[in-house]
Amino acid sequence: MADFARAVLVTFDWVVLGYFLVVNGIYLLLLVSAGLEMRTHLLLERAERRWRLLQSDIAPTISVLAPAHDEAATIVGSVRAMLGLSYPNLEVVVVNDGSTDDTVSVLVENFALVAIHPVFRRQVETKPVIALYRSRSHPNLVVVDKQNGGKADALNAALNVATGQLVCAIDADTIIEPEAMLRMVRPFVTRDDVVAAGGTIRIVNGSEVRNGRVTSLRVPRRALAGFQVVEYLRAFLFGRLGWNRLGGNLIISGAFGLFDRQATAEAGGYAHDTVGEDMELVVRLRRRSYEMGHPKAIAFIPDPVAWTEAPDSLRVLGRQRDRWHRGLSDVLRRHRRLFFNPRYRATGLVVYPYFVVVELLAPVVEALGLVGLGIGLLVGVVDWPFAILFFLVAYGLGIVLATFTLALEELSFHRYERLGDRALLVLWAVFESLGYRQLTVVWRLRGIWKFLRKRTDWGVMQRKGFTPPPPT
């Protein structure tokens, strides 16, 4: 029995080692790629008068799409913030997705809305539109009142009504940087092949927010939010930036993304029956562009463009991560035709397999590794010094990536101005791998399990709201 266990563990060891080498090879590539991409970005940024191009008459028109469901208490502030975004040709399309509260009447009252005959191009099928409003006080504001159909359906209704060349999907609880639009539109102005663009989303917990703006940026003092700050920095500045140079971005955050309206509508808009509708749309846009014979790119800009509130309880965070992993599983299943398919070039041969092997299966391999290590210790095949060494190597990689990302942030944007905040960030980066990371493995495994059981619920996301400034 001991011999058999030893043989299994030895084989498993080599499998894990092989996996480790492949994953690290990709990470190394991404590290180098992210560093080079950031350098190019910063060098181009230094010739800052290029910004005037983005404020000129030739800048593309943008429609901001804002779905709202039972948001009577916050909708006025959100819409005012959107109308106040710095961009020359901006339209705001708010969709009331069958609210049961006073969302519509609050909007009508505050923005002098008047009902107009609802005529628009029905490019994407949605639940019936009840009414269409335009504002006397804000000519660039349009409000759609429709039957409840969920967030994706509301976004599709907004897509039908929007007139901008580009559409921007924004979550109602996201704080947008004042110059975010000007930064986000840049890839569309500087390149011909961009179909969608995303930017860095950061965590606002612990910072001071005044009138919809982050006025004092701080690193959260609470560990859970602090770990997520490191996680977000790693995901955006290392992962997405690295893939950007290699042409392999497949994700744009649902909190803030910019899309080519025509291409999005022609692709059928947002999918209703998935919890990962933002990633699904991006993958579909890319896939479709290959099938149409004109491959398009998903651009990522490293500049911080939006701020979001991270969950600060394990329960809520667990639900969020489980939903994200279910979404990832579902999107990869839907587009399984891409897997090692040369028709989709690098996306099929490199990027999609990466998402399957590294992003989707990482928690499985990690969990098996931990379990294998535990069994090995129990049956005496593995001794404690080896187990500790193995553990340190495996999680040391996480620390390496986190510290590299912090270095990238420090050398580029260095948005955390206080030395104490930077030191705290380093602390969270070092301790993130001890406990928190293992928890995310459990949540992601739960996501895979629920996906296999075809669960499609979103779960409840409770937010505390942004920190008001201290009384003066």
């Binding site: 563990l9 030895v10 060891d13 080599w14 080692l17 060098l43 181009l44 230094r46 010739a47 008068r49 290029r50 005037r52 191009l53 000129s56 008459d57 030739i58 028109t61 040709n89 008047v114 009902a115 107009i116 005959h117 609802p118 005529v119 191009r121 335009r134 006397r136 000519p139 660039n140 007139t163 060349q165 102005v189 500087t190 390149r191 011909d192 593995v382 010094p385 080896f386 060494l389 193995f390 340190l392 190597v393 040391g396 990689l397 620390i399 390496v400 510290t403 590299f404 912090l406 270095a407 420090e410 050398l411 260095h414 030395l419 930077r422 380093v426």
Partner: protein, 358 residues
């Protein structure tokens, strides 16, 4: 089993990388912190000195040379920052003064050297600086054919800012650049250049044909000038739909009897974009006699044309309103719908705000 030696080696590499990364964070944070505090008084001093030099009485060379000497003692980074800040903020005599200061401090010479660098980003920064200082006539034209698109875009921007007729052909040619950033910068520079370049642009647009002419006319339509009328009248008779649409957009901005007649003729064009552009052009001319022809477009199979027609009628005053009311009972439900929405929007008092040139 995996050898311990292998794991130890990997762990050592990880530790080295993490330590280097953390050290770079710490060193950079401290360096920034120190520079922030050290630069502040220097920047204040430099700003004060430059302001004093620029506002000194004409002919008071003593103050100028004293202040320049004072600025010359500061770090090149501080000099560059202060002079650039001022140069982009002021125009006229002070703007030229900022350029003179840059010249005297050696910043212009340094930027010229950068323009000759083998590194694209050095050339970009050099071109950017010369553009800001209002210098570089001798160096920048050579960079029109630079291999890097960002450098070319910077030079195109400079060409637009100089308002020199001789550079108009280069600006127009840049609209066919393979890089989108160059094409868009060229379009923007043409629009910003404005009146001083109109004659040169008229010659350029007349000398071109096909898609190239259509692209340029589409840009010129945003700042229409009567001098573009003749070439636009020729364009609307062309074979290319994009050319006819661009010509119609220009004619809608310049007006005239011939322009109105040409636009009216385009309402029955085979291409939907041309019909839409013609309806929009007639709205801009407020050409009421063509209202019945525009109203017929409410039955157009293209949504965009119906919308353009509805918006145009809403902008044509009582005649348009009357026709929209008439179409409320039209047998074509699409025409009736569009008429109704156009009347609703007209009642809001913002007709014309809906359709923006794209």
């Amino acid at each position: 089993m995996i050898s311990r030696q292998f794991l130890r080696t990997v762990l050592a590499v990880e530790v080295v990388i993490a330590v280097i990364a953390l050290a770079s964070v710490a060193i950079h944070a401290l360096w920034l912190w120190r520079r922030q505090y050290a630069d502040r008084p220097r920047l204040d001093r430099a700003r004060a000195a430059l302001a004093e030099a620029l506002t000194a009485a004409p002919g008071d060379d003593g103050v100028w040379s004293d202040r320049m000497a004072e600025l010359g003692q500061l770090h090149r980074r501080v000099q560059r920052r202060v002079v650039q800040q001022l140069a982009v903020a002021v125009t006229g005599t002070e703007g030229r003064g900022a350029g003179d200061a840059a010249e005297e401090l050696g910043l212009v010479a340094a930027a010229r050297r950068r323009c000759r660098s083998r590194r694209w980003w050095q050339r970009l920064l050099g071109a950017h600086e010369l553009n800001v200082y209002g210098r570089g006539d001798d160096v920048l034209p050579k960079l029109f054919d630079d291999p890097h698109p960002a450098v070319r875009a910077q030079v195109i921007e400079w060409a637009g800012d100089t308002h020199r007729e001789g550079l108009a052909p280069r600006l127009v040619s840049a609209m066919q650049d393979p890089a989108a950033i160059c094409r868009n910068t060229a379009a923007d520079s043409i629009l910003r250049a404005g009146a001083p370049l109109v004659d040169a642009l008229t010659r350029e647009v007349s000398a071109r044909s096909g898609q190239e002419q259509a692209d340029l006319l589409a840009v010129l339509a945003r700042r229409p000038d009567p001098r573009y009328r003749d070439v636009s009248l020729t364009a609307v008779a062309g074979d290319l739909p994009a050319l006819r649409a661009a010509g119609a957009a220009v004619l809608g901005g310049v007006g005239g009897v011939e322009a109105a007649a040409a636009l009216r003729g385009l309402l029955t064009d085979t291409d939907a974009a041309v019909r839409g552009a013609a309806a929009d052009g007639l709205r801009r001319l407020e050409h009421q006699p063509s209202a019945p022809d525009i109203a017929a477009l409410l039955r157009d199979p293209s949504f965009n044309v119906r919308r353009a027609a509805g918006t145009a009628l809403a902008g044509l005053g009582p005649v348009g309103t009357l026709l929209l009311r008439h179409y409320l009972d039209d047998a074509d439900p699409f025409a009736a719908d569009m008429a109704r929405q156009s009347l609703d929007i007209l009642a809001l008092g913002d007709s014309g705000a809906r359709t923006r040139p794209t």
